[in-house]
């Protein structure tokens, strides 16, 4: 039986939230993001700004050159997070099968609902508009791949100055025909380099990919060739994933100005390690691998990692590993543009007790007491802290 999948994308989400705060922004060319003098990038831009060629992820300095009157609005992530949650709550009210893929995008599986997909999409769009004053676009199809592309195509073909608020339905059976005229780039997993290699094979559209012999694609792209061929025909059976177990946790910062002062770098390392420790703590996990990421002013980026004998969840252990990696990677005086600390290999935190630890017997009694407390009052009542 064919599935009915909705893809929902909030239109210029951060900008829409900003317009709620300050209605004077409506219709103006503005962008949410970092200041140009601190190497800010465009996180989201209004439709008026888009008409000047401004796009998200673009350096703010470039956006200002394209659109000299552009208003730059400082992002308020707390507000976006809150608005996003309210949207997601409305999706969850409809079905449990919701897969949130970013702050402003989600898939829904509405196969089990009695109404047709298009009607559900219209109702959802109207509700979010009425209750939250946020515009959104939806794609309706028999799978995630086609639903998402439907949203993109719907948005791109919208006319008018305001948000697209598009709804595009691809009826079951017409997936391949819908995709065929689109450029190969529109397909999942086709980035600039794959597109270039496809072009070299004389393949420009998704239809061309579908028509190409599978063997040829496999020869050119290995295992990905199979997926490419299937996707080009509009075939995708990936399910709605309602729960993601985190595989890693990380934090990074890009400095406003390159930093080469060792003390400042190490201070940042400590802060990042503490942040990651806090994330781990909140998730009740420890990590077996600590990773350091450094980006030089010329944008070359390197990552170095270290395995720990047991999963670390305390800031001290993560700090220590991060500094060891830093010692191995950084040369005195070298300027750093970005620095990041991450932890992967997540698992329940555990601790090998040591025989020579002076107070192991005392530690044993403490652990027993902690366990007793957790049994009675729940796991969160008390946790291991980090020694300062």
């Amino acid at each position: 039986m064919s599935r009915t999948i909705l893809h929902l994308d909030l239109d210029a989400f951060f900008c829409a939230v900003e317009e709620l705060r300050d209605p004077a922004l409506r219709g103006k060319a503005f962008a949410v993001g970092g200041q140009p003098e601190t190497r800010g990038v465009v996180a989201s831009c209004s439709y008026a700004a888009r008409r000047h060629g401004v796009r998200s992820a673009m350096p703010m300095s470039r956006a200002l050159r394209l659109c000299p009157g552009l208003l730059v609005v400082r992002p308020r992530h707390g507000a976006y997070h809150e608005a996003s949650q309210q949207v997601m709550e409305r999706l969850h009210a409809l079905t449990e099968l919701v897969e949130q893929i970013s702050i402003d995008e989600a898939f829904l599986d509405v196969t089990a609902l009695p109404e047709p997909g298009e009607a559900i999409a219209r109702r959802l769009q109207a509700r979010i508009r009425a209750e939250l004053e946020l515009p959104c676009s939806l794609g309706v199809a028999s799978n995630k791949l086609v639903a998402k592309i439907a949203t993109d195509v719907g948005k791109a073909s919208a006319r008018g100055d305001g948000p697209p608020s598009a709804i595009l339905v691809v009826p079951p059976g017409s997936e391949a025909a819908f995709l065929a005229p689109l450029p190969a780039r529109a397909l999942w997993g086709v980035g600039p380099s794959t597109a270039e290699r496809l072009a070299a094979l004389g393949i420009a559209t998704i239809g061309d990919i579908a028509a190409a012999p599978e063997a040829e694609l496999v020869r050119a792209f290995g295992k990905n060739g199979y997926a490419l061929h299937r996707h080009a025909q509009g075939l995708d059976d990936s399910p709605i994933v309602t729960f993601h177990e985190a595989k890693s946790m990380s934090r990074e910062v890009t400095y406003a100005r390159d930093v080469s002062d060792e003390r400042a770098l190490r201070r940042t390392l400590d802060e990042l390690a503490d942040d990651v420790a806090q994330q781990l703590h909140a998730a009740g996990k420890g990590g077996l691998t600590v990773k350091l990421k450094l980006r030089w002013p010329d944008f070359t980026t390197l990552t170095r990692q270290e395995s720990l004998p047991e999963p670390a969840c305390d800031a001290a252990a993560i700090r220590a590993a991060a500094h060891r990696l830093f010692d191995k990677t950084w040369e005195r005086g070298k300027a750093v543009r970005l620095i990041g600390v991450g932890v992967s290999g997540l698992m329940d935190p555990l601790h090998q007790l040591g025989l020579w630890d002076r107070d192991w017997q005392r530690e044993g009694r403490i652990l027993e007491a902690v366990r007793e407390l957790q049994k009675r009052y729940g796991a969160d009542v008390v946790r291991r802290g980090a020694p300062e």
């Binding site: 177990e245 077996l288 004998p309 047991e310 999963p311 290999g345 997540l346 698992m347 329940d348 935190p349 555990l350 601790h351 090998q352 007790l353 040591g354 025989l355 020579w356 630890d357 192991w360 017997q361 530690e363 044993g364 009694r365 652990l367 027993e368």
Partner: protein
């Protein structure tokens, strides 16, 4: 020097002494092996100044002499020669060692023997303890596995060797586990004596015991010079003792237990080995559940491991379990290494609490015990 010996004997000796050759040393001669003839014998020696190994090769000596040659080259080369007679001669003028074997003639450049450090020898009046090589080998194997491999507390990279009355005790601990093995001495020793021997030196003694299984292996300690000597047939070994006193381990050995399981050693070992496949990605954690006999006639020990990526595994072993049911977690590698050196058919595991160290012993054998501290989640 002019001497003849068999390729096989020379190759064996070179392989043995090569283990004491310094891998990184400021002194070039320490990368060499000393060949010396005296009293109708050819002796090979190597040292890194902490450990020295000597080997007497059966040979026909025509003219006494000595030279040192690069260890890796000589050992590798001689091993590759055909199993025939080798004639060795030193060219004093060019400081090289000439070898003739079958259709091959070789000259290897060396360094003058006077450059080689003088190796200490046991004083004739040091008391000697001789034990069967098989006993030495087993004791060393059981104890050195628990010695520390990192240098953060150098004394823990060694094993305590204690002589008291009729007993010899070897003990080692890396902070997470503790091995203690005792043996009866053929005669009573005088004063109590305690020294700390580098685990690496003991492991070489263990190897020598395997090489020379037929005669007792003699040990003597020179306390003043802080050296220990071993002689196993053709092999002699000298090691510097470690400085510092070994921490008192007696308080680490659990006294009494809440749960005790007795089970088949080989089955337990196999179960831990299987669990290790699933423990590898999760810090080697293996969870044991000791379940006393309830409804059934016998108890059991469950050996379980799991990882988010690999999956999960549980083994159920029949066991005699006394006391309360207990769940306790260990590093599977530690458990496996201990079970690998327990040769008794049955092993006992005693536990006091999931947060207290566990105690492993060969059933019915009071001479060996192994303490492993737990992993707590």
């Amino acid at each position: 020097m002019r001497v003849a010996c068999l390729q096989e004997n020379l190759a064996k000796g070179l392989a043995m002494v090569s283990r004491a050759v310094a891998t990184r040393s400021a002194l070039p001669v320490l990368a060499n092996i000393l060949l010396r003839t005296a009293g109708g014998e050819l002796t090979l020696s190597a040292t890194d100044l902490e450990l020295a190994i000597g080997y007497r090769v059966g040979a026909k000596v025509d003219e006494d002499g000595a030279i040192t040659v690069p260890a890796r080259l000589l050992a590798g080369f001689v091993t590759s020669l055909p199993p025939e007679r080798i004639d060795l001669a030193v060219d004093v003028r060019t400081k090289s060692l000439n070898l003739r074997c079958a259709q091959y003639e070789t000259s290897i450049k060396g360094i003058d023997a006077v450059e080689f450090p003088l190796l200490p020898a046991a004083a004739p009046d040091d008391p000697v303890i001789a034990l069967a090589p098989e006993l030495w080998r087993e004791m060393i194997e059981q104890v050195t596995l628990a010695a520390a491999t990192d240098e953060s507390r150098p004394v823990l990279t060694g094993a305590l060797l204690r002589l008291e009355g009729h007993t010899l005790i070897l003990a080692a601990s890396d902070g997470f586990r503790l091995s203690v093995r005792s043996a009866e001495l053929p005669r009573e020793m005088g004063n109590v004596q305690e020294v700390v021997v580098p685990a690496r030196a003991l492991q070489e003694v263990g190897r020598a015991c395997q090489e020379e299984p037929n005669e007792p292996v003699a040990m003597s300690i020179s306390a003043q010079r802080s050296q220990i000597f071993f002689r196993a047939g053709k092999i002699s070994l000298v090691s510097q003792l470690l400085e510092g006193s070994f921490p008192d381990y007696s308080r680490l050995i659990p006294t009494g237990y809440v749960t005790r399981a007795t089970l088949d050693t080989a089955q337990f070992r196999d179960a831990v080995r299987l669990a290790l496949f699933f423990a590898r990605d999760s810090a080697n954690i293996v969870r044991l559940r000791l379940i006393p006999a309830g409804a059934g006639p016998r108890g059991q020990v469950q050996v379980a491991a799991s990882s988010a990526e690999a999956g999960s595994h549980v083994g159920q072993l029949a066991a005699a379990v006394e006391g309360d049911e207990m769940s306790i977690a260990f590093n599977a590698r530690y458990l496996l290494e201990a079970l690998n050196v327990i040769h008794a058919e049955q092993v006992t595991l005693e536990a006091t609490a999931p947060t207290r160290p566990g105690l492993l012993r060969p059933a019915g054998d009071p001479t060996f015990l192994h303490v492993i501290h737990v992993i707590v989640v």
